[in-house]
Symmetry: C2
Subunit: 356 residues, 2 copies
């Protein structure tokens, strides 16, 4: 048995790979037959099939996905675009979506756009160029989503929503959760509560601010000057704003961090400034993180079902790729997790000091 002659792409710097033609020649059949034998679509005599399979195995044949996709005009790939993989929230969303999609036989093209609209648009272009079957994204603007939807590719927005009515979305109920968290503080007697948000232009930030303001309004508490601070995503800037806020003579009695990044900085700065939680400052955060249940006292928070968000989005996308239809918005609840970082106002300075 002689080996099929390998084309040597002289002059080219790309090493020749085994192709279907090689396998076919090796097995002594035509390309069509080899294709039918390997894919199982169409007739192929059992004896031939096993011979072709053996040839493929022996030669280490790996079908070219590019050629296949080109022919089929579709790919078993979906694009997944998140803002920051290092943030556990996005990592879990990705993991949740990945599990579902892998089980369905899809490959994931994952891009981290670092929260930049430019990169987001770039990723959208890449996805379209790859002819992905669908896209999941945590949008930073409406542009990318619209661009993709217009090309007829289904999109599911995750966590934030910019294109209501144009595509599906899987979100958490930011308004309700933020209202619950704020009510909790109000019930404990707090009046000066500051919300430190990232970006009020994002639908998450806006929703959380809305819930927060609703809770204040229904309790007849006016939202003062220092009610809401918006400080972006740059850690240094956040740190500066937080330090400033906590160093004020009339600082708030409670702080509401709108995401886990802000929360970590608030916590570190409060600790650094010697503020005791909850004695000197009550503290709540949106989005539970591992450390929030490890520090002493634990942080009162609403937990986002991040893995579930990713999984639901993936399932929704799979359905949508099957059959188009009216866009749906799915909203998941965030359970309130009460820990030790919140205390009744007035019990301040009551407990013993353990450190300066």
């Amino acid at each position: 048995m002689t080996h099929a002659k390998r084309r040597t792409t002289a002059g080219s710097d790309v090493p020749a790979r085994i192709t279907l033609a090689d396998v076919a020649a090796y097995a002594g059949v035509s390309r069509s037959t080899a294709s039918r034998a390997l894919t199982g679509r169409g007739y192929a005599a059992p004896e031939v099939k096993s011979r072709v399979d053996a040839a493929a195995e022996e030669l280490g044949y790996v079908p070219d996905a590019n050629a296949r996709s080109l022919k089929a005009r579709r790919t078993p790939t979906v694009g997944l675009l998140v803002s920051d993989l290092r943030n556990p929230f996005y990592a879990e969303v990705a993991a949740g979506a990945g599990g579902v999609l892998r089980a369905q036989g899809y490959t994931i093209l994952l891009v981290d756009d670092a929260g930049s609209e430019l990169e987001e648009m770039d990723a959208a272009r890449t996805f379209l160029a790859m002819r992905v079957a669908g896209v999941l994204l945590t949008p930073v603007s409406a542009a990318a989503t619209q661009f993709i939807v217009r090309q007829g590719v289904p999109v599911v927005e995750i966590d934030r929503q910019y294109c209501r009515g144009e595509c599906d979305a899987v979100l958490v109920d930011n308004v309700t959760a933020a209202r619950d968290l704020t009510r909790h503080l109000i019930k404990l007697g707090h009046r000066r509560i500051t919300l430190i948000a990232d970006e009020l232009g994002w639908t998450t930030g806006a929703g959380r601010a809305k819930g927060y303001l609703q809770a204040l309004a229904e309790a007849d508490r006016p939202a003062g000057d220092d009610a809401v601070v918006s400080c972006g995503f740059d850690p240094e800037r956040i740190e500066k704003e937080v330090t400033e806020l906590l160093s004020k003579r009339r600082r708030p009695t409670a702080v509401f961090a709108a995401n886990n990044l802000v929360a970590e900085i608030v916590w570190r700065q409060a600790t650094r400034l010697g503020l005791r939680i909850p004695d000197d400052l009550s503290f709540v955060a949106f989005d539970d993180s591992p450390w929030m249940s490890m520090v002493q006292p634990g942080i009162t928070t609403v937990g986002q079902p991040s893995v579930e968000v990713g999984a639901r989005a993936a399932r929704q996308l799979v359905n949508r790729m099957g059959k188009p239809g009216r866009p749906r918005t799915i909203r998941l609840d965030c359970p309130l997790i009460e820990r030790g970082s919140t205390a009744r106002l007035g019990r301040r300075r009551a407990s013993s000091r353990t450190s300066s």
Copy 2:
């Protein structure tokens, strides 16, 4: 100006996308010319070029990456395979690699194999099918790497090494770091130190165990029965083993957690069992995590330069894709970060209790 007629793929369920032929027709030139105008390779009169560009823009043309890759027999894509995106270490490696690769114009095909050899092999096949230009992976076995290398695709192993001599690798110096950490405990007078590792078959676990044993040996401490516990990656199993270890009458005076997952469980269990750190138990961990600097006391640890590991691996891969050569192994140092979780043996039960 009439729109170019769109092919309606009657019967097919794949919506027709704008193709180069459409753009060419719209601009009134041939496909060849349109291609030259858009890619900038070869002659194209300025007037023609701008007309073609305008046509592409107007029609929303997105070149088909599959067709392009098929023709070019190469893709501007690299495969990135990690074991668990939810683990901050891998997330940071991915982020580090992503930054470098994106800057170099590569697209990343990211797969999370959940630490399974089967999934790893599956991912390898996918990468080869996609004709990726190179692969970065945190290997779980030698099989996938060898399979890919044999097809002539460059691979860089990250964090663990199974194919020394066959491909590049970027690792951290596990042996030295683990030895440092163990020496630190020994210097504080500890004798019964247990290492809780994940998988001793993995090169990371093996290296850390080796460094740990070296430190014991050089101090003439015999490694007792309960010296090393290997407990896999299943959180429940780890929890069970840890609880058992910490509940023993003659439990170790110090515990060395070999990774951040184990560390978190050790910490939670120690706290649950009412063990005070460092009074009742000294505790060190491999791989710094955010919470380790937030809990009180902070955890003494060696920090892995995870982002840098990813970035270095990416750079090495880019070089290797440029020109083959002898495989290189790059080893990065892990700095020892001393915090409060380690104390001199004998000072036990000296401090006041703050909680039962």
